[in-house]
C-alpha cells in the first residue's frame, strides 16, 4: 500500500511539472502580457521601469526558471494585475463563496438525481422513467451557462422573485442571504440531477438484469431483500466512484455560473486572471486544480477498492 502511495506521489509530481511547464509556455507564446494594456501609453522609460519591477523584461527561459524554482518552495508569486493578491489570499477570499455554491449544488442535485434514478429504474418504461429520461436529456444538453441566463431572466427578471446577481458576504458568507444563492444553485445543481439520475438508472438496470440477481430471486428472497443485499452495493459502484470528482470540482468554483451571477469565487477570478494574462494566478490555480484532480482520482481508486473486491491496486 505504501508503495502504491509513493508511486502515485511521484506520478503526481511529474504530472504537475508537465502541466505547469505547458501552461507557462502557452501563456508566454501568446502575444501581449499582463502589463501591455496598462503601460501602452506610458513613456518608454517608465514602461521599462514597470517591466523591470515585475521581472517581465527577462527572457522567457529565465522567467521559467525563476517561476519553477519559486513554485518548488510553494511560492506562486504575487498577482500582476491585482496587486497584493497571492494564491494564499485567493484561497482565503475566493474559495468560500465557491465552496458554498458547490456544496449547495451537490446537496440539492445529487440526492434528487439518485432518487429519480432509482424510480426510473424500478418503473422502467412507465411514465416516471420516460419523464426522467426526457428531462435529464434536456438538462444535460443545456449548458449551465444558458440555464443560468434563462433562470435569471424568468425568476429574477420576469417574476422578480430572486436577485439576479450577487452573493452573500460578511456574516452571511456561509449561512444567510439564501435568496441570492437559489438561482446559482439551480443553474449548476439541475445538471447534477440529470447526470446522477442517468448514471444510477443505468447501473441499476444493469444490476437488475444480471444473472446474480436472478440467482438471488431463485433462492426465494423477497424483493426488498434482493435489492438491499444484492442490488444496492453493486449499483452504487459507479456513483461512489464519480462523487469525489464531482465534489472536488464543484467546490473549487464553476467558471460559467460564477461569471453570469457575478459571484466573487475562484471560477470567476480564474477567468479574470486569464483575460488579464495574470501569470502567477493562472499558474497557481492550474497547478492547484491539477493536483486536486490527481489526488481525487487516487481517492476514487481507494473507494473502488473498498466497494468492489475484484479491484486491487496492489498485489498482496
Amino acid at each position: 500500500m505504501l508503495k502504491v502511495i509513493l508511486r502515485r506521489l511521484i506520478a503526481l509530481l511529474i504530472s504537475l511539472f508537465l502541466i505547469a511547464s505547458a501552461t507557462f509556455f502557452l501563456l508566454a507564446a501568446v502575444p501581449g502580457d499582463a502589463l501591455s494594456a496598462q503601460t501602452d501609453k506610458l513613456p518608454a522609460a517608465t514602461r521599462k521601469q514597470v517591466y523591470q519591477n515585475t521581472g517581465l523584461d527577462q527572457p522567457v527561459l529565465k522567467r521559467y526558471g525563476i517561476t519553477m524554482t519559486n513554485m518548488l518552495h510553494g511560492d506562486f508569486g504575487t498577482s500582476i494585475a491585482d496587486p497584493g493578491m497571492t494564491m494564499k489570499t485567493v484561497i482565503e477570499e475566493k474559495l468560500p463563496p465557491s465552496a458554498r455554491l458547490g456544496l449547495q449544488q451537490i446537496l440539492f442535485g445529487v440526492p434528487l438525481g439518485l432518487l429519480l434514478g432509482v424510480l426510473a429504474a424500478v418503473y422502467k418504461n412507465r411514465w416516471v422513467d420516460r419523464g426522467v429520461t426526457v428531462v435529464s436529456l434536456l438538462l444535460m444538453s443545456v449548458p449551465s451557462l444558458i440555464l443560468g441566463l434563462l433562470l435569471q431572466s424568468y425568476f429574477g427578471g420576469k417574476l422578480g422573485l430572486f436577485p439576479i446577481i450577487g452573493w452573500p458576504e460578511g456574516s452571511d458568507l456561509w449561512f444567510g442571504g439564501w435568496a441570492y444563492t437559489i438561482l446559482p444553485t439551480l443553474a449548476g445543481g439541475l445538471g447534477y440531477i440529470a447526470s446522477y439520475a442517468r448514471l444510477l438508472k443505468n447501473s441499476m438496470l444493469d444490476v437488475l438484469s444480471s444473472d446474480y440477481v436472478l440467482t438471488a430471486r431463485t433462492k426465494g428472497l423477497p424483493g426488498w431483500r434482493v435489492v438491499s443485499e444484492h442490488v444496492i452495493r453493486n449499483a452504487a459502484i459507479p456513483i461512489i466512484t464519480s462523487l469525489p470528482v464531482t465534489v472536488a470540482f464543484s467546490i473549487t468554483g464553476s467558471v460559467f455560473v460564477e461569471s453570469i451571477f457575478v459571484i466573487p469565487g475562484v471560477g470567476q477570478y480564474f477567468v479574470q486572471a486569464l483575460t488579464n494574462r495574470d501569470v502567477p494566478i493562472i499558474m497557481g490555480e492550474t497547478v492547484l486544480l491539477a493536483a486536486l484532480y490527481i489526488v481525487t482520482l487516487f481517492i476514487t481508486d481507494l473507494l473502488y477498492m473498498a466497494v468492489d473486491p475484484r479491484i486491487k491496486l496492489y498485489q498482496s
Partner: protein
Amino acid sequence: MTTIIEIKNLQVTFPDDGGPVHAVRGVDLTLNQGETLALVGESGSGKSVTTHALLNILPKDAQVSADKLQFNGQDLLGLSQRDINQIRGSKISLIFQDPLSALNPTMRIGKQIGEALRFHAHVRGTALKQAVHAEIEAVGLPDPQLIARKYPHELSGGQRQRVMIAIALIAHPQVLIADEPTTALDVTLQAKIIALIKAQKQQRDLSIIFITHDLGVVANIADRVAIMYAGQIVEVGTAEEIFYNPQHPYTWGLLDSVPDPDSQRETLFTLPGNPPDPHEELVGDAFAPRNPYALAIDFQEEPPLTQVSTTHFVRSWLLDPQAPAYEPPASIRERWAIYQQDQREVPTHG
C-alpha cells in the same frame, strides 16, 4: 411413481417491437419423484423459459398461460409473490450455465451459500456458518472456512459451479433444475460436475430437470429425455427409447450431431437451416422446412402426438398410419437394430 411436477399446455409469449415472441407453444411435461429428466434442444427452443415459468422468474412482461402448472399438486400459476418465494430455493432450486455471472461479485461465497437457509429455515449465526461449511464440503470443495471467505472471482470455473450447486441444495429442495450447468466448463470438469450432481441426487433423493443442448451429456445422467423444438416437445421417452428407438427426424439430427470417435465419417453432421423466427405464427410442423422427411401435410397441419410406448411419445406425421414408407439414415437404423435386439433379449413392460 409419484408425479412431482406436472405441466400441461404451457404457453409463454413475450411482447417485442417486432410483434409477440412465442417462446413456448404448448409444452406438456411431467417430472416424477426421483428421476432425472433431460430437456434437450437448440438455443431458443424454449427449454429455459419453460423452467423459468415454473418458478415465475420470467421477465415481468411475459405472458404465461397453462392448463396445468403444478408442483406436488399445488398450482404454481397465480401464486402470490410470498407463496412462490416459499417454493423457490426451498422446494425447487436452479443452477445456471455461467457460474461467474450467476454469483454476486461483491458478496463473499459463504454468505451467498447461506442466504437460502437463512431465509427459509431462519438459521443464524454459528449454526448457519456450520451448515454453509458442511455444504461446501458436500459439493467437494476443500477447506470450507477459506472458500467461504472468498469472492467469486477468486475461484476457478469448476469451483464456482460447485458453489452454485451448494447454493441450490443448502435449503434441501426436492427438485433441482440444472440449466446447462456444464456448458461453460471444459470437458474434464463437465464429467466431474455431472458426477457430483448424480451423487447429490442419490444422497438427497432429488428429482432433476437437466437442461442441455448436448445429447452426449444426457446419456450419462438422464432417466427420461424430452426433445424440444421451437417451443414444443417433439419427442419424449426413456433415455433408451430416445437413444435407440428415436422416431422424430429432429431427434435423428440431434443424435447424428453428437461427435462419435468410432464414426467412419470425416465431417460432423450438422442440421441444415435455422429454427423458425419465434415472431411468426407457425403453420403446420415447425420443423418441416429443415426436415428432409417432411410430408406435404407437414406444411399445413400441426402433427398430433403419437404414442409409441407407454413412455414414448412423438409429434410427427411420419407415425401416422397413412404416412408413406420412409427409411431413416443408416446411423439411426443401426440404433434401431440394437434396440430391437435388446427388446428380444429383455422383455419390457412385462
